[in-house]
């Protein structure tokens, strides 16, 4: 069973959307909607109507990261202060809550931001090696690419659909 990947480049989002819609409606046997990817120079959240809602779970990580950052921060700081129970400072308590609040707040934000960045990289699948997948430099300029992975036989159908919607260029690649 040999799979083929095909990348069709379109002039604008409408043409690409029409092509995707037709591919979806064609209901080709070995083609799942998950195998359809759109590559674009700007974001198109409206593609979710066509491809279905896909998850972006970064915010769960953010919550964990923020809570972790805050609690670790407070523990570190309060323990460090607790180490010096014989050294009074300014008549204040050894573990004073106002400074600890300020620092816990900062560490909460630190944890949240770092974990969000990490989550973004993880969830988006970055960094990735570009050689292993089809790409065209025009995508970063002004053309939208639709990439479909399917069986060799279905690919001919997909190619026809692409040409019907005036694809500017089509690239093919045989996998294993």
């Amino acid at each position: 069973m040999s799979a083929v990947r095909i990348l069709g480049l379109f002039n604008d989002f409408d043409a690409a959307a029409n092509a995707i819609r037709e591919v979806r409606d064609a209901n080709l046997p070995t083609l799942k909607l998950d195998d359809v990817t759109i590559k674009s120079p700007i974001e198109h959240p409206e593609v979710e109507e066509l491809l279905g809602v896909r998850p972006a779970p970064t915010r769960k990580y953010t919550l964990v990261g923020a809570l972790l950052g805050g609690s670790l921060g407070f523990s570190l700081i309060a323990s460090a202060q607790g180490n010096f129970f014989a050294q009074l400072k300014g008549g204040k308590p050894i573990i004073p809550l106002p400074p600890d609040f300020v620092l816990t707040y900062e560490m909460l934000i630190l944890g949240g931001v770092y974990i969000t960045v990490l989550a973004f990289l993880l969830c988006a699948g970055l960094p990735t090696r570009m050689k292993s997948t089809l790409y065209n430099t025009k995508i970063s300029e002004d053309q939208i690419g639709v990439m479909v992975k399917a069986d060799k036989h279905c690919i001919a159908e997909v190619k026809k659909i692409f040409q019907k919607h005036s694809a500017l260029s089509i690239q093919e690649e045989v996998l294993e």
Binding site: P41, P96, L103, E106, V113, T116, T128, T137, S140, M147
Partner: protein, 456 residues
């Protein structure tokens, strides 16, 4: 320079070809012309002055800065706060305007965020320059060590350290993550060592819907974190003063006052760099007059907030019973610092009224001069917070009205501007200073809106 013929309503033309956007911005990171190298050398020269003064001070001792008892702090702390303040512009533009979907920020936020990062790095220099034993600055870092000691977390200076570290790293990450799609564009159009450089930076970004989806959510999340962070960072810097009990410092409104001042000086700096970049890289299509108009009006609004907080502080001191604070205020207005104090009032509260005039807002020379004056006022404001309280504290015997900073202090302050210039110029040549993908989004949405309006 006065383009009255341009369409004033639109922040950007909606018929710019995306390929054109790529081309226009990418030519800004081409091989630099000789003017760039000359300016770079000048910034390097300023920085060298600063380095020279610091070496002298490091070897001989802080006394060469004309410090004494009670003038323990001087221009270093004032400039430190000035640079931290300037860093708030990036966050304001990037994060706050992003969350409220103000599209006009899109062509200008990249260099504003870069300004944030480099301002923070410059402020970090001053932390070290100001210390008496700079070679032991690592004592202030919280990590398990063989001395079995931790820093003193009660100290506002340490809160500064933690907050600024958080802010610097978060800003850098925000800037970098937001630039990944642009690095992909650079990678696709570069050759030679630049191609390798951008390939690494772009992390293999291909613009797939999965990447864009996660990007959108993450970027918004980080922006939501950065806003409370920016407010808290400068509040913490303000609490260096507010948490002490010296007259003129122990003021509850200092945290919001500092944050307002920070946003103010950040906006003024954005105007300055806007005009510089627009001219240097010929970004007239992107850094348009309507956008400049909006920033100018924002600056005016913040100027009024700053003026209000100033007036509140003066009023509450004047009508209060704290005679020490009142004396410090009278000192500021009539004592040895009064020329600087009144210049600060003029630059900070009177000059922004020029921004009310439409003619001024459309005149690049006037805007350049005004923005520089506003920042001068803000720098003076920081100095006027630090110095008068030292000269006129609680204790009558320690009043010292004629201590002025020496050439060493001025040299290092000058050097910091050189350092900032060096970093910013390097940035302009390595990273696209206009966010290409966001400008494309702007054009796309305007085209869509026009199409829907036509169909309706």
């Amino acid at each position: 320079m006065n383009d009255f013929n341009r369409d004033k309503e639109k922040d950007i033309r909606d018929d710019i070809a995306w390929a054109q956007i790529n081309k226009d911005v990418l030519q800004s990171i081409d091989k630099p012309r000789s003017a760039f190298w000359q300016l770079f050398a000048f910034a390097g020269f300023l920085f060298a002055i600063g380095v020279g003064c610091e070496i002298y001070q490091y070897r001989v001792g802080l006394g060469v800065g004309n410090f004494d008892n009670p003038h323990m702090w001087g221009l270093y702390i004032a400039s430190f706060i000035f640079w931290i303040g300037m860093s708030h512009s990036g966050t304001l533009l990037s994060a706050i305007l992003h969350i409220i979907h103000a599209d006009w920020r899109k062509p200008i936020y990249r260099f504003a965020e870069a300004m944030t990062t480099f301002s923070l790095m410059t402020a970090g220099l001053f932390v070290m320059v100001h210390l008496g034993r700079l070679w032991q600055v690592y004592y202030a870092l919280p990590y398990p060590n063989e001395r079995w000691t931790w820093p003193n977390f009660q100290s506002p200076l340490l809160w500064d350290a933690m907050a600024i570290f958080t802010y610097l790293t978060s800003s850098m990450l925000f800037l970098y993550v937001g630039a990944i799609p642009d690095f992909a564009i650079c990678r696709d159009n570069a050759t030679g060592w630049r191609k390798n450089f951008y390939t690494v930076l772009a992390l293999g970004w291909m613009g797939t819907d999965r990447q864009w989806r996660n990007f959108r959510v993450s970027y918004m999340t980080i922006a939501c974190f950065l806003i409370p962070l920016a407010v808290s960072v400068h509040s913490i810097v303000a609490s260096d003063f507010a948490m002490s009990q010296q007259p003129g410092w122990h003021i509850t409104s200092f945290p919001p006052y500092f944050v307002a001042g920070a946003l103010y000086s950040g906006c003024a700096a954005i105007i300055t760099l806007f005009i510089v970049l627009r001219h240097t890289f010929r970004f007239e299509e992107y850094m348009t007059f309507p956008i400049l108009d909006k920033i100018a009006r924002l600056t005016f609004a913040i100027a009024m907030v700053w003026t209000y907080l100033n007036l509140i502080e003066f009023a509450s001191v004047w009508y209060g019973h704290d005679m020490y604070s009142k004396e410090v205020l009278i000192q500021k207005a009539t004592g040895p610092y009064s020329p600087f104090w009144w210049t600060m009032i003029f630059c900070g509260s009177v000059v922004p009224f020029a921004l009310l005039s439409k003619w001024v807002r459309a005149n690049l020379t006037a805007m350049m001069i005004i923005s520089l004056l506003l920042n001068l006022g803000m720098w003076l404001e920081r100095w006027m917070i630090v110095a008068p309280t030292f000269s006129h504290g609680y204790y009558p015997w320690t009043l010292d009205h004629d201590q002025w900073p020496s050439f060493v202090q001025w040299g290092i302050v000058l050097g910091s501007f050189g350092w900032f210039g060096l970093l910013f110029m390097l940035f302009c040549k390595l990273v696209p200073s206009v966010s290409m993908y966001e400008v494309k989004e702007m054009v796309y949405h305007r085209t869509l809106a026009r199409k829907h309006a036509r169909e309706a």
